[in-house]
Point group: C2
Chain length 388, copies 2
Amino acid sequence: MTTTQVVGAGDLFQVLRDGRPRTRAELVQETGLARTTVVVWMNALADLGLITPAGTAASSGGRPPSRFVFDPHAQFILGIDLGATHGTIGLTDLDGKVIARHHEQLDIAAGPTMILDQALDAASNLLKARATDPGLILGVGIGVPGPVEHSTGRPIRPPIMPGWDGFDIPNYVRRQFDVPVLVDNDVNILALGERATAWPDVDDLLFIKVSTGIGAGIVAGGVLQRGAQGAAGDIGHVQVPHGRGEDDLEATASGPAIARELSERFDAHLDAGDLVDRIRIGDPHAVEAAREAGRSIGEVAAICVSMLNPSTVVVGGRLGVEVQEIIAGVREVVYRRSIPLATQHLSIVPAQGGVDAGVRGAALMVIEDQLSAIAIDDRLATTNQSQR
Amino acid sequence: MTTTQVVGAGDLFQVLRDGRPRTRAELVQETGLARTTVVVWMNALADLGLITPAGTAASSGGRPPSRFVFDPHAQFILGIDLGATHGTIGLTDLDGKVIARHHEQLDIAAGPTMILDQALDAASNLLKARATDPGLILGVGIGVPGPVEHSTGRPIRPPIMPGWDGFDIPNYVRRQFDVPVLVDNDVNILALGERATAWPDVDDLLFIKVSTGIGAGIVAGGVLQRGAQGAAGDIGHVQVPHGRGEDDLEATASGPAIARELSERFDAHLDAGDLVDRIRIGDPHAVEAAREAGRSIGEVAAICVSMLNPSTVVVGGRLGVEVQEIIAGVREVVYRRSIPLATQHLSIVPAQGGVDAGVRGAALMVIEDQLSAIAIDDRLATTNQSQR
């Protein structure tokens, strides 16, 4: 059941990703695909600039066969990871490796034109600083902190993004970069980036971001699941089992929620940064508040684990990574509440993707979209030809 | 984004499923696939007996081209749907349509050899009664009421199936029917059958079975999700948010749980059948108990809806279908608790697949497996040839 199937140009691209040059005949032998299929798909990959000719192989008579190679630096991708209060704009190679980045404060509530202008200016500056031709940009991937209709790239009723509801982000971005523009929820791109970085072989992964908000990215059957309206993974707005009253998870266990509780206790104004500082110096109230928040997240995560049976739960986001009491609370409750079969081989681990995970995920989303577009284009092109 | 991709023999089979005979050239034109690909896949489909030659087309000179057609009656599939207390054994055509069925009481706790013998005897009798050659059986699909490691067909720690833990069901069945045998959780095969019957175009569907037990089948991104150990969809053993004490959903809202509560209230011994009867005559205590059970299921379903953002929630199982207070309670809580984006276009509907849904789903599981096997076999065969 674990045989890798080569059923599309994307799979062929995966074979070439090791960087070894190959002739068409070598790929036919390696993949078992028909020669015509290999030729069509390799032409499509070459048209996209994902592979380039790399000299010729020895000939057994006649014209020597061309070799093709994946050159990760032949083109670049812009990855834009927008959070509630900060954004990371990055330039990646075709492997999704971040080769330049810019990080800045922003206020997502300032609205789409101001924030996108700010991000696109930063992107242009990155390109200028590296003397990179904007014509070498394969596409732009963007993550935003709210639900997105992925097929159109429009946020849908995003709670903390006033002015963004229904805004056509791809159309706006294409005025400056006339390339494919893909948009998704920030947690989804984090999940993609985290999986590519640390868990490439895990097909069932639950990524939980704990930060200003709380949300999840679901990889099931090896595929990021977005749901019918792109709202999958919104665990921040479910009520906490065994929780206090009617508060949802975000109002119970997010950074601002924990800081608010501590502020009330100490009659002082503390923010999420203060919380992290107090935990670092061992303040027992802060430690207990974080642990309790982790338990609340664990109550919801336990249901997700029983529901989806992932093999890996990754806890990310600033609080999820920096405050170990959070993941400790998640582990405590998930292992207590979930059925044995679902937790027998379950790992609950902190995110390892670091600051680049969002940018990387955004870039990988673009690459995957381009590869899946090949299959469709290829089919339409062939059909059109045969109808002429 | 809705273009149908033909990326495997299974997709080619879907094209042929309309029953119209086609030549290879016509399929090349219709699908845009390379001729060699069409030839290889059609040979594989013909080898499996899924398509058969159907005369020749008019020739424009030379040998007239052969037409191929999908004949749903060329072979048959055995579908076996085993519940806790009853089983349905059915014979389907290659469309998964049930053409003969046998229903009988059983006690799953009697253990694998006794129960499988009982089911296989019933299957043999079905074949004899219809004078169907056992050699025409393409495969056997089986659903059991517990978690299953789908890749091996072995139940894993099934709570209500003593003696079945780790039992190699496919190996046992193949002594009588030496064909591919696929095994899955009964709720998963119900979800497959229900989707094929009533929701073929829905890619994100949550099926909830409410009967002796409570479980879910998850279709996400158009694919049945089984999770890392085949335990996905086990919502029966999560604790109910806002529930009474530490009881899990099955102990709160299943048929036996509701009957137990009413028995205590009336100091009488009632079973799930009595419950259905009392609700039918309008007993207000029974009606309220069922409604409350529906609300508990709704508490868990609301989290699943926020998590997965399905477009359709199907409530099935005997109680789910026969007792409308159950689905009313589910609707009440899901629409109250879930985020607006996730419920905006959400339908919560009773199952429509009827008694045949499980058998049909089991048969479809076999067909899908056979079709996906073609892609792998094809590739291996070609690779082996080129290595000779």
